[in-house]
């Protein structure tokens, strides 16, 4: 891993970090680095912290590891989990998608509205198309107009939220679905005691894991993050891949929003503010580099579960919920610092 900021990319990733600026580039010993790299890529720090939390929690509180509790934590975090898939892919290219929270809300509104008008199948399709379109706008501006992802998606963060307000008359119209409708079933249904949203999230993780690790599209994604100029010179489909990824990210955020609306049997225009930051935190905790070029969905899954477990932990601790964010922030720093230190160790 080069520790210097990428140079010479005129309008490259917004997140080009100056991390470790003052450290000499440390050559990585070839042997042993592969194991360490694999651990790192799969968010070993997140997994370790997760295991620790679950262990401590289970010892301290009998209710902590009950099946119900686990089921609820996983279900409650499956939506952000789906959002984090797209975020991971986008971050791997060295980009970022700040619009996911707003698109999430849009997905819920569109899903519920269309489901009431034209049934569940149309609802799913309409959500994917509507949110995918937002992703297309992001992608075109980033991929073809070469604008910085941070600012483009920041603008859509504002714009799409406005659109959602417009669609709902600033919340004057609430959209709800009958709780016995098939659409609601998408969110509330269970198979073998596991909620559909969880199953869908798992399926999406599996699919996108394979896409990322085993398809040319995935390799191109990694290559773009590793060196966009080089990827262009190698003749890879850089722009098309980038556009697709923003479409995927938005479509996934929309689907997540739709599933949550189905679970809650209603759509709210103010839902999911700040989801972008939570998703980014989960992705980073999961070991994906914000500079791009390396990352894994397994790590992201661990990151999502870790953040969810922290919430459960704080609830059990009966700490004033004000501490929630303080603890989450401290956790975030600790995990990334540990990751950083693991990298140093690896460098020797």
């Amino acid at each position: 891993m080069s520790t210097t900021a990428p140079t010479g990319v005129p309008d490259g990733p917004a997140t080009a970090g100056t991390g470790l600026a003052a450290r000499p580039v440390e050559p990585v010993a070839a042997t042993g680095s592969r194991v360490a790299a694999a651990l790192q890529r799969n968010g070993v720090a997140a997994f370790a912290a997760l295991a620790l939390l679950v262990l401590v929690g289970s010892v301290l509180w009998p209710s902590f590891h009950t099946l119900d509790n686990v089921r609820n934590t996983v279900l409650g975090n499956s939506y952000i989990g789906i959002v984090a898939i797209g975020m991971t892919l986008v971050i791997i290219t060295g980009g970022i998608d700040l619009s996911v929270g707003s698109v999430f809300a849009l997905g819920g509104v569109v899903g519920v509205y269309v489901s009431n008008q034209a049934g569940p199948v149309a609802a799913v399709l309409a959500t994917i198309v509507a949110c995918g379109l937002i992703g297309l706008i992001n992608g075109m501006l980033i991929g073809y107009a070469r604008m910085a992802p941070f600012i483009v998606t920041l603008a859509t963060l504002f714009g799409v939220r406005g659109l959602v307000y417009q669609l709902t008359g600033a919340g004057a119209r609430t959209y709800s679905v009958p709780s016995d409708s098939f659409f609601a079933h998408l969110g509330t249904g269970v198979l073998l005691t596991i909620g559909y949203p969880v199953l869908i999230a798992i399926a999406l993780y599996v699919v996108f894991h394979v896409v990322l690790e085993r398809t040319p599209f995935g390799l191109t994604t990694l290559a773009i993050g590793g060196g966009e100029d080089a990827a262009v010179l190698m003749g890879l489909k850089v722009r098309r891949t980038k556009v697709s990824l923003y479409v995927v990210s938005a479509a996934l955020a929309g689907v997540a929003g739709m599933l949550q609306a189905a679970q809650l049997v209603s759509a709210s225009p103010i839902i999911a503010t700040g989801y972008e930051l939570q998703a980014i935190a989960a992705v980073v905790i999961g070991g994906t580099l914000l500079t791009g070029g390396a990352g894994s969905l397994i790590g992201t899954a661990a990151g999502v579960l870790l953040l969810g477990t922290i919430n459960a932990f704080i609830r059990e601790l009966q700490l004033d919920s004000t501490w929630n964010n303080v603890v989450s922030g401290a956790f975030l720093v600790t995990v990334v610092v540990v990751q950083r230190l693991l990298n140093y160790r690896r460098a020797d």
């Binding site: 140079t7 010479g8 003052a22 085993r214 040319p216 990694l222 290559a223 080089a230 190698m234």
Partner: protein, 518 residues
């Protein structure tokens, strides 16, 4: 169809009347060249002459302002590098075009991965084929480790392998040998010969004239963005080639009058002293001394630890033990600022990653290291900076629209001169030069070497790292040879000859096979 030419082969790729301007620069004007199947076509010229720009136009990175491209006789436009690749033109760009965090295997097959029946990437086959490919071209590298853990030379060879493996009808190489050691150069030449015999057309850019005469059939010379000569390589004698490139005679021979002595002041205590530098797996007890007015060469193969020794002098290399002393005082590690303060200057090897500030101006690039000296109370004096910058731009003949030009838009050689200016303006006592002439043209190389001589004569202590044996031999008063991070030989005085150096560098005799082709 196309008639047979004197060279007896079909034109594969042609540029006709191509012009290209960048803001403030006319990089190419009305350039026409023809590349034929089975020929190695040299493209030469000074730094900034437009070679890389022409290549980028041939391969779809840039679009030309006017003129046309023909591929196999048909007019074409390549919208992007992808399109050119699809047409069978593969390129090794001057700036390394690989993804450093990915493995060699992935880099070799990115964009054309072997697939399983499920249309997924077949990594096992990819690895197998990558190994076979590298074996075939005698490149030794682990195909599974991230590319950035391999040496620069290996990376360059992998880039060559990738380009060649595309089964192209044209292979373009922009300074492929700039970071290769001699054995790798031989491997590369083997590959080029093989390609030529298979009827592939090759465009070859290099500033190393020997190479051109060894491998090229035809030569085209660019000067200031214009084509000034095209013809068979063999018919253009070396002196004339240089004259055509520079547009003037280069009278002085490149040899220094009195290597290893004469008027040099090699007496007194050393200015720079390295004592037992040790770093796990990297450096083992490296000691050496450089005196006032002395040029000490540091020889060795890629990865021998030369650059790391250089970095140690600047205090930028973590050490397990050992010390660097400048005029008897130890340098603190971890603070290049302090080392610079003590009179050390280092021209780093990797210009792009460690040297230039790409989006800043020439002025800022030159002044950055000297800032603390040229300011009072932390305030900048632009007037003094401007004077300094003007002086060094003139002295080193930096070709630019002005001191405000962004450094990333300079040609590679001129970037190197800017780097040199950054260090010279510090008037250092110790100068470490890591591959100072890499990628710069003969004229500039001459100037750089002349500058080294001047500086040494002025009493500077110079530590010169170079992979060009000729350069080391010509310039050095003493040569320290490193191998696997340890000093294995010191050549002094009369021992300094290319033959002895090559002997010392390689335990195995260096590939001295017949340089004539076929």
């Amino acid at each position: 169809m196309a008639e047979l030419t004197t060279a007896g082969a079909l034109p594969v790729l042609e540029a006709r009347g191509v012009s290209k301007s960048f803001p403030g620069v006319k990089a190419l004007s009305d350039v026409s060249i023809t590349v034929r199947a089975g020929e190695v076509h040299a493209l030469v010229g000074e730094n900034g002459a437009g070679k890389s720009t022409l290549i980028k136009i041939l391969t779809g990175v840039y679009q030309c302002d006017s003129g046309e491209l023909r591929h196999r006789g048909e007019p074409v436009t390549f919208a992007d590098p992808r399109a050119a690749q699809a047409a069978g033109i593969s390129t090794i760009y001057q700036e390394l075009d690989l993804v450093p965090m990915q493995s060699a295997a992935r880099n070799l097959y990115l964009g054309r991965e072997p697939r399983t029946r499920l249309r997924l990437v077949d990594f096992a086959r990819m690895r197998r084929e990558a190994n076979a490919l590298l074996d075939d071209y005698q490149i030794r590298a682990d195909v599974d480790v991230p590319l950035n853990t391999l040496g620069l030379g290996t990376q360059q060879m992998i880039s060559v392998a990738r380009a060649v493996a595309l089964h192209a009808n044209v292979v373009i190489m922009d300074e492929p040998t700039s970071s290769l050691e001699s054995r790798e150069v031989e491997t590369l030449f083997g590959i080029i010969r093989r390609l030529r015999s298979e009827g592939v057309a090759i465009v070859y850019v290099s500033h190393r004239l020997d190479e051109l005469y060894r491998i090229c059939d035809t030569v085209s010379v660019l000067r200031d963005g214009r084509l000034v000569h095209t013809g068979p390589m063999a018919e253009l004698p070396r002196v004339q080639l240089v004259a055509t490139m520079l547009g003037r005679e280069l009278q002085t021979a490149l040899h220094r009058s009195a290597p290893g002595g004469g008027d040099r002041i090699v007496a007194g205590p050393p200015v720079l002293e390295l004592r037992g530098l040790t770093r796990r797996n990297r450096l083992h007890d490296v000691s050496l001394e450089v005196h006032r007015g002395e040029v000490v060469g540091l020889g060795g193969l890629l990865g021998a630890g030369r650059s790391e020794t250089g970095m140690a002098v600047l205090g930028a290399q973590e050490l397990d033990s050992g010390a660097v002393l400048v005029e008897g005082k130890p340098i603190r590690t971890g603070s290049p600022g302090a080392a610079i303060e003590a009179g050390v200057a280092l021209l780093p090897e990797d210009r792009k990653l460690e040297g230039i500030l790409p989006n800043l101006s020439i002025r800022d690039n030159i002044a950055i290291a000297a800032l603390p000296r040229m300011s009072r109370l932390g305030l900048v004096s632009d007037k003094r900076i401007d004077q300094l910058v003007e002086h060094f731009m003139a002295r080193l003949h930096i070709r630019a629209t002005g001191p405000g030009q962004k450094v990333s838009t300079l040609s590679g050689g001129n970037q190197q001169k800017v780097m040199l200016a950054r260090w010279l303006c510090l008037s250092p006592r110790v100068l470490v030069l890591d591959e100072p002439t890499r990628g710069i043209d003969v004229g500039a190389k001459f100037e750089v070497r002349q500058t080294i001589d001047e500086l040494a004569a002025e009493g500077l202590a110079v530590l010169l790292i170079s992979s060009e044996t000729e350069e080391l031999v010509d310039e050095s008063d003493r040569i320290v040879v490193l191998k696997d991070g340890a000093v294995v030989a010191v050549l002094d005085g009369d021992d300094i000859s290319e033959h002895d150096l090559v002997q010392a560098i390689a335990a195995v005799p260096s590939p001295e096979e017949d340089p004539t082709r076929d």
